[in-house]
Symmetry: C2
Subunit: 336 residues, 2 copies
């Protein structure tokens, strides 16, 4: 979805885009080849976006200026292995995959996973910030963050991608951006509880709903995000900007994660809420699993304290252990 959507500004910026599907995307690539229509984005794509099945990867790579990677976080190692033969030439790689890994000792960032799995020293840049695919495909204006460790490469790639409606800004705080990008899925689930509780109490949508509740959860989410960003080597300033407040805002307003949170807030049993998502990737569960394992280890090393993360601890209980929603407001903002 996101890889295809990103093709729209790239074509508008004057590029040819070769869109290679994984084995999970065969039907989308077929539909694009037959009719130029993207079935999940529900959008006609420009002819300059050329679809390729996975078997034609080599053909698609010929003369590429930039390689984009849009697989889910679980597919990053797979993608790195597949792409390894084309990385030696120094062509920049840009990832739109988001998430964090856990190797039992350390939280790992996806660009590092990619570099390691590819067996090269290629460190991909990564994109984060507010960007719903369906809106980008329809040219809704936004700003995003392009992060990586080489500012010259970032500036070059940002200049290639920018259009009148797609504004990449650059940041060398890879850890901060990636931690924010991953955490927002967990926290958006928690903000979504409010809408569910409201419906459960018979409420209708409107300006008087559970917006106070949602906003207090949002603010606590940002405070906890800052704690985790600092614990994992990121910078404080990243949290206030696009990767932090911006991406959490859009995920609460437009994402499937907040819908999942709403169902939990309505009192649906965990398994039933997952079933209702009809197989959609639930990044919030992935990141909560990672953090559920990582936090005790990080706490043992003195990097974070569970007592500073009461919202996250509750989200883990709800989403992984099936507890009922009861957000611990009385422990928010350093109280108790």
């Amino acid at each position: 979805m996101m890889g295809s959507a990103l093709s729209v500004p790239l074509v508008d910026a004057g590029h040819e885009v070769r869109l290679v599907g994984t084995h999970l995307d065969r039907e989308i690539i077929d539909a694009l080849g037959d009719r130029g229509f993207h079935p999940t984005l529900r959008l006609e794509l420009a002819p300059a976006i050329r679809p390729y099945q996975l078997e034609a990867l080599g053909e698609a790579m010929l003369g590429a200026d930039v390689i984009g990677v849009g697989v889910s976080s679980a597919g990053v190692r797979w993608a790195a292995e597949r792409l390894a033969p084309w990385l030696a030439s120094g062509v920049p790689v840009v990832m739109i995959s988001k998430g964090l890994g856990w190797d039992g000792q350390e939280v790992t960032l996806l660009p590092d996973q990619f570099a390691q799995s590819s067996g090269t020293s290629v460190q991909p840049a990564a994109i984060a910030g507010p960007c719903i695919a369906g809106e980008l495909g329809r040219r809704v204006e936004t700003s995003v963050v392009l992060t990586g460790r080489d500012p010259r490469m970032l500036a070059r790639v940002a200049a290639l991608m920018a259009t009148s409606y797609y504004h990449p800004v650059i940041s060398t705080d890879v850890a901060g951006v990636q931690v924010c990008a991953a955490l927002k899925n967990a926290y958006a689930m928690g903000v979504g509880f409010g809408a569910g509780l409201h419906e459960r109490r018979g409420g209708l949508g409107g300006s008087v709903a559970q917006h106070n509740y949602e906003a207090a959860v949002f603010a606590q989410a940002m405070v906890e995000t800052e704690r985790l960003v600092l614990a994992l080597g990121g910078e404080r300033s990243t949290v206030l900007g696009l990767a932090g407040t911006g991406d959490l805002t859009v995920t609460c307003n437009g994402g499937r994660t907040s819908r999942f949170g709403k169902w939990l807030g309505m009192g649906l049993e965990l398994g039933e809420a997952v079933r209702r998502m009809e197989g959609a990737t639930l990044e919030c569960l992935d990141i909560l699993r990672v953090l559920g394992e990582a936090i005790p280890v990080l706490e043992g090393r003195g990097l974070v304290r569970k007592s500073e993360l009461p919202l996250l601890v509750h989200l883990i209980e709800v989403a992984l252990e099936g507890r009922s929603v009861k957000v611990p407001f009385d422990r928010f903002f350093g109280v108790a």
Copy 2:
């Protein structure tokens, strides 16, 4: 509205509340006296909330443990003069009024305006953070910030106010909290542009709308809020919490300010957008007027740079000078 709504947790915390109307609130006080019904909150209030007309102020003050002030920012000086006779006894004052003043040289905080106008040394505490009155009156859970310069007084007042659904946390960063509380109205107007542009282009509500746009504006709003908080003597950490991200979130989701911004985003002429608000207080215009005068002076003193505040500068152009909405994304996040 907000003063009346705050009576609900106070009564639930076991207090008697004496609700004194200004001369503008006669009908509300009458309706509460006759039927116990609050016409603008559209809510029946408990009998322990006792309504008083302004002439009975002296009677209402007898034996008060705390004095709350819920007038609009324009009424703070008036309220301070009226309440002066009862301030000598050292009874704590809590303000829910929000805004900033400008005396031609300095940005002034409402608690300081109150102290000065009362002719006493009483420095009121102030409440900020996510709190839509209609939701508080219906006991929707939230956390708020109680700010002031005396932490012992804050702790005492917070303990008096807390209930199972109303969670005051305390902060001694008066400038930071008050600047955030005032700015959120201006910036929520800007976030609201997105919904208006979406409707103008024929869009319907839903998960694919202009959420990317709104979220990028939100993030830039937080970055600019931090600049202004620091320039006006507040603390960075306040911006990420309830007074900053929390209050902006709720104001975007439930407030009249974002509705006003939506009309401007739809392309309505400024005067027409104001007319459609049917006389509702537009705090966003007040704060933009203050900042429109203050920023050149603050810039002259080297405290802020206009180039760091491109969103605010555009909001001033739109709301005070009648310019069309065209948010300068290309100058956001320190670019250019």
